[in-house]
């Protein structure tokens, strides 16, 4: 048995292998250990490539199950008979076959496989497909792309690298979320557009376990702690994004917004290696606003009061009435959000194995401090295990991967960005001479008080994904994918009485603690049969399977108040009042059958049919089940004799198209039920019950039809590859939270709406190996997407509550605003277009100007250059778009709020808020086209330079320098054109220095 094992393998590995093999193979199909033959001769040899020896090459005897691997010196030994044929194979190299004959010592040189580009095998979820044979649209990035980026969120690694995939970072706070849209916005519901995420076969529940309204709302955008931020990018081998109907219809009701397949790192066979990777670096906010200094600011304020006809400054105007020092100046952006964050990661992994059993164990520790004033940090510790076993007869295969991640995010209770850009430049010092919080005689709300509101989120995430397959017959395989995931979140936020000005005289009985515990447990089981056959020029493969999935989800939030002392604030038992804010449990069940039929004729004509029937517990009785399906076809025209003859420079040519339907069930659980839930508040000892929602028992699936046509071309032996894809997707039967006026008691009700949204677009991809020499290579890839989004039909739009939100024929992502017409020469106030000519400016009648926020185009441009031992990677991300600028969120100039220096040269006369006409005009201005502007940018998203040290052959050392969001070129008037928010911290610029060691 030891013959199969790498001699250098560790004892532990051997033992594990032995135990595993005996248990699994022995139990399932008898002993595989019987293939020994007589008349053998010992054979030895060395395998190399152009650069040197190759460890880990698989050496097999053709037609038999015995084999071995080369050791770290590229050497192997095996016993074979003279008639045997040795097969040498190694990833990225052409497989080589050599007859044994009389030779006993071999020297093999493997050739690199230059056509590897088209031999790339893509993971399509239930099946995998060779890149050149696919009929659908699948984009991917691999560990190679991920490794160069010092980021913590998986979605960050994809930014700018995939056509048709638009990703924006909503905040620079660690643990915050990213918005992703794959081929546009399909659903009218803002929260119904996220794709399906699958990690090693296990669907990831992306509903936030956090409590945004009581805990995280003021620091983390959106629904709070983001499920994807817990994943460890360093554990990921590849990310595939399925975009069109052909690739997504097999996911049925969950595929409408695309599917993101995340495959974690798997062990490779070969010598046991230990890899250590360490980096550390610094981060800062990448852009700041150019704000007024004290002199400019006070001049503005004085002018404002003068304009309002107020001669005596009011008592509350501390900045100008002499209460505060008129000469003091603080750069609040620097003070509050200008710290330098420290980033550090240590990543240690060990892996190895034989041809039959491979194991990988890895640990990552990451730490990041914040750019906020104060001590805050984000820590992540991730463990990964991956094991793979194949029986000697190759019939049974077992895969298991486990990720366990612990993360802890300690943040201030509130994002201080708004304070940083709003505070008067002559506002008082944060601390007094004794180092205590300075309240300056109750004349201001010290922004640092919010640091007392410590927000801590701890997440434990376990994901187990595995598959077991067995070759029932040579062309029939039974496979089961199964997985389990468990996420636990514990959040807490304290609000001690020290948060309030001592002048209120509040004691610790006013301090409170809010805690939230969330859990999500899910399992999934997917038995499948795969069958394929080839007859002459015909290849047919069939797949059928079923899915069972159940997800249990719950949150439990409590508020404790009335502490005897602030030092006991983390201990709810020291509180005299405990109130349950929220206690919810829900169950989501999902069941489906699915199938795929793929037919290839003559290696040129490919037809791919997929379908799914699925049911979801999110819908009311009778509405739970629906059918989805797609057809995809491809024609590899470059294999036609005519093309081969007349277009010899065309090395690859494929025309493909697909059409199909998918669905969307992202509407939350139990929306069809009429229920009451507890509000946790006692009144006369009775805990109140509140209506949970307006309900509608009749709603059902949102359907989405997708059509695509694409052309894939390869030139000059595939040194240049080009893809152009055009898609047109229509989503109808929109499941919408119809916005309701307050008179209904609620803000929305879930209902199907016969509105139709069309997303179309053109995606272009280019990749080329510009130079490919021994010591110098240069490759480029480029992607560009022109998206288009249109509301094509909406029955009775005028009579609906959407009348002032959407327009037929326009995109969904529009704002209806006032049209700014310049300043009134007499009053000096802003004026606006009076669309209905009634002499009044009214929201209903005059917000008729349409501002389109859909990007015109976006894309990325990436280059990799290698020279001897040096490698340089850089990626430019670019977006052409319109977005809200700071006029959209800044207060009226003249109020006690600092302003951009731009307002000194433009705009209406300053007002201190006593002139209602000016206030009104400014509020219209904020909601006019003047508050939107060019938010296009070109960003050096990522740059990585590495140098491999010339070391002894037994080990390998690489030094690298990486940067994220390094440079931004933009005309945007505001903090950052990516998240264009005035209250959230912009994405950080991070620079790191690291070392990777492999033994």
């Amino acid at each position: 048995m030891n013959k199969f094992l790498n001699n250098q393998g560790s004892t532990l590995l051997k033992q594990l292998w032995l135990v595993g093999l005996l248990l699994i193979c022995g139990a399932l199909h008898g002993s595989p250990l019987t293939m020994w033959q007589q008349t053998q001769q010992p054979i030895t040899g060395t395998v190399r490539d152009a650069q040197g020896v190759l460890p880990g090459v698989t050496v097999l005897i053709k037609g038999k199950t015995s084999g071995t691997l080369t050791d770290e010196n590229g050497q192997f030994s095996i016993t074979a008979t003279a008639t045997d044929i040795l097969v040498f194979s190694y990833m990225g190299y052409k497989t080589m076959e050599v007859g044994v004959g009389n030779q006993t010592i071999f020297s093999i040189t493997l050739e690199e496989d230059t056509t590897q580009l088209k031999e790339v095998v893509l993971n399509a979820g239930y099946y995998s497909v060779k890149d050149k044979e696919r009929t659908g649209s699948i984009s991917r990035i691999t560990a190679k792309d991920i490794e160069t980026q010092p980021v913590t969120n998986v979605l960050a690694t994809m930014q700018g690298r995939m056509a048709g995939v638009s990703i924006t970072q909503t905040s620079g706070v660690p643990g915050a979320g990213f918005d992703i849209q794959i081929r546009g916005r399909n659903s009218l519901r803002a929260d119904g557009n996220s794709p399906l995420y699958i990690i090693d076969g296990m669907p990831l529940g992306t509903e936030s376990l956090g409590n945004s309204s009581f805990l995280s709302g003021s620091i983390l955008p959106g629904a709070g702690v983001n499920a994807l931020s817990t994943l460890n990018p360093a554990d990921i081998e590849s990310i595939e994004v399925l975009k069109d109907a052909d690739a997504t219809a097999i996911y049925g009701s969950r595929g409408a917004n695309g599917v993101v397949l995340i495959t974690t790192k798997k062990a490779k066979s070969g010598k046991t290696t230990l890899t250590a990777n360490v980096f550390s670096g610094v981060g800062q906010i990448a852009r700041r606003l150019n704000l007024m200094n004290t002199e400019q600011y006070l001049a503005m304020r004085r002018q404002a009061f003068e304009n309002d006809g107020i001669a005596t400054y009011p008592t509350f105007a501390h900045d100008i009435n002499g209460t505060w020092d008129q000469n003091r100046y603080t750069d609040w952006q620097k003070e509050l959000i200008g710290n330098t964050s420290q980033h550090r990661q240590v990543d240690v992994g060990i892996q190895g194995g034989s041809e039959f059993t491979k194991l990988l164990l890895k640990m990552t520790n990451y730490q990041e401090t914040s750019v906020f004033h104060g001590d805050f940090a984000y820590k992540k510790t991730a463990f990964q295990f991956s094991g793979n076993h194949r029986s000697a007869d190759q019939k049974l295969q077992l895969d298991l991967s486990v990720q366990y991640v612990l993360d802890k995010n300690n943040l201030p209770g509130t994002d201080l960005t708004l304070d940083a850009i709003n505070l008067a430049p002559n506002a008082p010092a944060l601390y007094d001479a004794d180092g205590n919080l300075n309240w300056e005689n109750s004349t201001w709300n010290n922004p640092i008080r919010q640091n007392f509101e410590q927000y801590v989120a701890k997440t434990n995430f376990l994901n187990v994904g595995g598959s077991l397959s067995y070759q029932l017959l040579p062309n029939l395989e039974f496979r089961t994918m199964a997985g389990f995931s468990d996420t636990r979140l514990a959040e807490s936020k304290i609000s001690p009485s020290t948060l309030y000005d001592p002048a209120f005289g509040l004691d610790s009985s006013f301090s409170f603690l809010v805690r939230n515990a969330g859990y999500q447990q899910s399992w999934s089981l997917e038995p499948q049969l795969h069958w394929s056959t080839t007859y002459q020029n015909h290849t047919l493969s069939l797949l059928t399977g079923a899915t069972f999935q159940e997800r249990n989800f719950g949150t439990y939030a409590l508020q404790a108040t009335g502490f005897s002392s602030n030092s006991l604030i983390y201990n709810p038992s020291a509180a005299n009042v405990i109130r349950i804010l929220n206690n919810s449990n829900s169950v989501y069940k999902y069941n489906a059958v699915f199938g795929r039929m793929n037919y290839t004729f003559n290696e040129r004509y490919i037809l791919n049919l997929t379908g799914r029937r699925d049911g979801s517990s999110r819908f009311g009785p009778g509405k739970q089940f629906a059918n989805f399906g797609a057809v995809g076809a491809a024609w590899l025209f470059s294999k036609e004799a005519l093309v081969e003859k007349h277009l010899p420079w065309l090395s690859f040519g494929k025309l493909r198209s697909s059409y199909g339907t998918t669905g969307n069930d992202q509407i939350g659980d139990y929306q069809y039920l009429d229920t009451f839930s507890s509000n946790g508040l006692p009144y006369q000892g009775i805990i109140g019950l509140q209506p949970t929602r307006l309900f509608n028992p009749d709603f059902s699936w949102e359907t989405n039809t997708k059509w695509e046509a694409a052309l894939d071309l390869g030139f000059l032996n595939d040194r240049i590859s080009v893809t152009a894809a055009y898609f047109k997707n229509k989503s109808g039967n929109q499941l919408v939270g119809i916005p309701l006026p307050g008179t209904t008691g609620f803000t929305s009700v879930q209902s199907n709406f016969p509105a139709e949204v069309e997303n179309s677009g053109l995606e272009l991809e280019w990749s080329s190996k510009n130079v490919n020499r021994a010591n110098f290579s240069w490759s480029t890839s480029f992607n560009l997407t022109f998206p288009k989004n249109e509301l094509v039909s909406f029955p009775d739009l005028e009579g609906s509550t959407f009348a002032n939100q959407y327009i037929l024929g326009e995109p969904l992502n529009i704002r209806m605003v006032y049209q700014y017409n310049g300043l009134d020469s007499e009053t000096g106030l802003y004026t606006f277009e009076d669309f209905n000519g009634d002499g009044l400016i009214r929201a209903n009648d005059d917000r008729k100007k349409v501002v389109d926020l859909t990007p015109e185009f976006f894309g990325g441009f990436q280059n990799t250059l290698t020279y001897h031992k040096w490698q340089l990677d850089f990626l430019f991300q670019f977006v052409k778009q319109t977005g809200p600028n700071f006029n959209n969120y800044k207060s009226m100039p003249g109020l006690s709020v600092n302003q951009s220096v731009d307002v000194l040269n433009e705009g209406q006369p300053f007002s201190a808020g006593f002139n209602t006409q000016a206030t009104n005009a400014y509020s219209f201005y904020r909601n006019s086209d003047a508050a939107f502007g060019d938010a296009s940018f070109i960003r050096l998203k990522n740059i990585a330079l590495s140098y491999t040290l010339p070391t002894a052959k037994k080990w390998h050392c690489k030094l690298y320098l990486q940067g994220q969001n390094v440079l931004t070129f933009t005309n945007y008037r505001g903090l950052d054109p990516e998240n264009y928010s005035g209250i959230r911290i912009p994405p950080l610029r991070v620079l790191t220095l690291g070392t990777q060691l492999t033994f």
Binding site: F504, S584, G688, Q690, G742, T743
Partner: protein, 458 residues
């Protein structure tokens, strides 16, 4: 090949069977209760009703918190100075509201949400088959009262509004504004029915649930505002004559305690040990005040010897400057048992309503009589007002000194008497005639154009 095909077909069929429809059936989650069951049990029906009181106490409309009328209208009229330069409150203080104001939107939405809950109770209890008749009457009576009380304030703040009487969102989505007279008719009808259904009994201790007298008190106020003097007088008298339940507190320091004998209805602070949010909003211990203080004009308006100026106002000084805060509710921190609750109606108002109604009816002696009852108890001599006009202005002054920082009494008085412009223009630089009404929230107008036209001036 045949065996293979057999295997394949067999397994396909087996897998096909696996997809079973029962798998996706789920139960109602164990933390929620299905709608139909709630109103078949008096305890759960009560739980829905009390959730309204809790929210009124904590954060909606009549709350003592900074989002409630006491603070907002105190600023909007001439009761409070605002010291918080960057707050929403300052916009109220400067009478600088615009249609997009988020506080106004929240006021509107949260109040209608409570009206929805009240309507849920009304419909649920009407349809229920298991509740005892006495429970039904009480629940329906209270829900009608809540509906009327909330609409009353909305009408005062926004003018013509939709009066919502159903839970059907399809109907409520397009509901237009109803004229003042239509709102009055509906309000009056709801209150008449509530008066018949409720009794003098309070549910539980401390008068934290409205009884028939709370309905009478609202009726008295409603008729006064509506200048129906006879009816206002009749309803106020009904409460005043109920001397077994209501008497004026001898000591002014006891008026705002939770067991005060003059309280008709109050909202409880829960759980036990909590006190009012009003106290938390108004009290400060160091100067300059961190958020808000009483206006100098109000504090100097107390006649000498007026015990209210002594017991209900507290001054805080740092030696050089002195500021005042309302000290009606005195406990801003927790106590071992709760001492003070937020009072919605108290007997003093009934006396002053009757005094005003009698004055309007030219029953000047009767009017003086009631006014003097209020004055004498705070250490003041009988009124010197002789004519009807003098009495009217004395009563207005008395109401100002009696009800300052309580639920916007001052603002509503000035408004109903047409005095907003004459009183406020001189003391409030931002005051405009059209500020008498709040703007209908812009967001609501966009969602429901039937709410147009917007109130004048916005």
């Amino acid at each position: 090949m045949k065996t293979k095909q057999f295997y394949f077909i067999l397994l396909t069929v087996l897998l096909g069977l696996v997809g079973c429809e029962d798998f996706v059936e789920v139960e109602v989650p164990d933390t929620q209760l299905s709608g139909a069951l709630v109103f078949e049990d008096v305890r759960t029906a009560e739980a829905v009703l009390v959730s309204v009181y809790t929210r009124m106490h904590n954060n909606v409309l009549v709350t003592g918190d900074v989002s409630g009328l006491s603070v907002l209208l105190g600023n909007y009229a001439d009761e409070l100075d605002c010291y918080s330069a960057s707050s929403q409150e300052l916009l109220f203080n400067q009478n600088d509201l615009i249609a997009a104001n988020p506080t106004v939107l929240a006021l509107w939405r949260n109040t209608y949400n409570l009206i929805y809950t009240a309507n849920t109770v009304l419909e649920g209890v009407e349809d229920s088959t298991q509740l005892a008749p006495t429970d039904r009457d009480r629940l329906i009576g209270e829900a009608l009262f809540i509906r009327a009380y909330l609409h009353f304030y909305l009408n005062q703040l926004f003018g013509a509004i939709p009066y919502v009487t159903t839970t059907d969102y399809r109907e409520n989505t397009t509901l237009g504004k109803q004229s003042n007279s239509a709102v009055f008719a509906l309000l009056e009808a709801d209150l008449q029915r509530a008066e018949q259904l409720l009794t003098d009994n309070y549910v539980g201790p401390h008068r934290v649930r409205p009884n028939r007298n709370a309905v009478l008190a609202l009726q008295a106020r409603f008729y006064l505002y509506n200048q129906q003097w006879e009816l206002a007088k009749e309803k106020a008298s009904n409460v005043i004559n109920n001397t077994t339940l209501y008497t004026l507190a001898a000591d002014l320091n006891n008026v705002f305690l939770r067991n005060s004998p003059s309280t008709i209805w109050q909202l409880m602070a829960a759980p036990e040990g909590k006190n009012t949010l009003d106290a938390k909003s108004f009290i400060f211990t160091a100067v300059p005040p961190p958020a808000r203080a009483l206006r100098e004009g109000l504090v100097s308006g107390f006649e000498p010897n007026d015990l209210r100026g002594i017991n209900w106002v507290k001054s805080v000084t740092n030696g050089s400057a002195t500021f005042h805060h309302a000290f009606k509710y005195k406990l801003n921190n927790d106590t071992s048992t709760s001492m003070e609750y937020s009072i919605q109606f108290r007997l003093e108002e009934m006396y002053l309503i009757r005094a005003e109604a009698n004055a309007e009816l030219n029953l000047l002696d009767l009017s003086r009589n009631d006014l003097n009852i209020i004055r004498n108890r705070v250490g003041l001599a009988n009124t010197t007002a002789l004519t009807k006009a003098e009495l009217q202005s004395s009563i207005l002054k008395e109401r100002q000194m009696e009800f300052f920082t309580e639920l916007g009494h001052r603002f509503f008085d000035l408004k109903r008497l047409g005095l907003l412009d004459s009183v406020l223009t001189s003391v409030k630089p931002g005051w405009n005639t059209t500020d008498a009404l709040f703007p209908i929230p812009e967001n609501e107008l966009l969602l429901n154009p039937n709410l147009t036209p917007q109130n004048a001036g916005y």
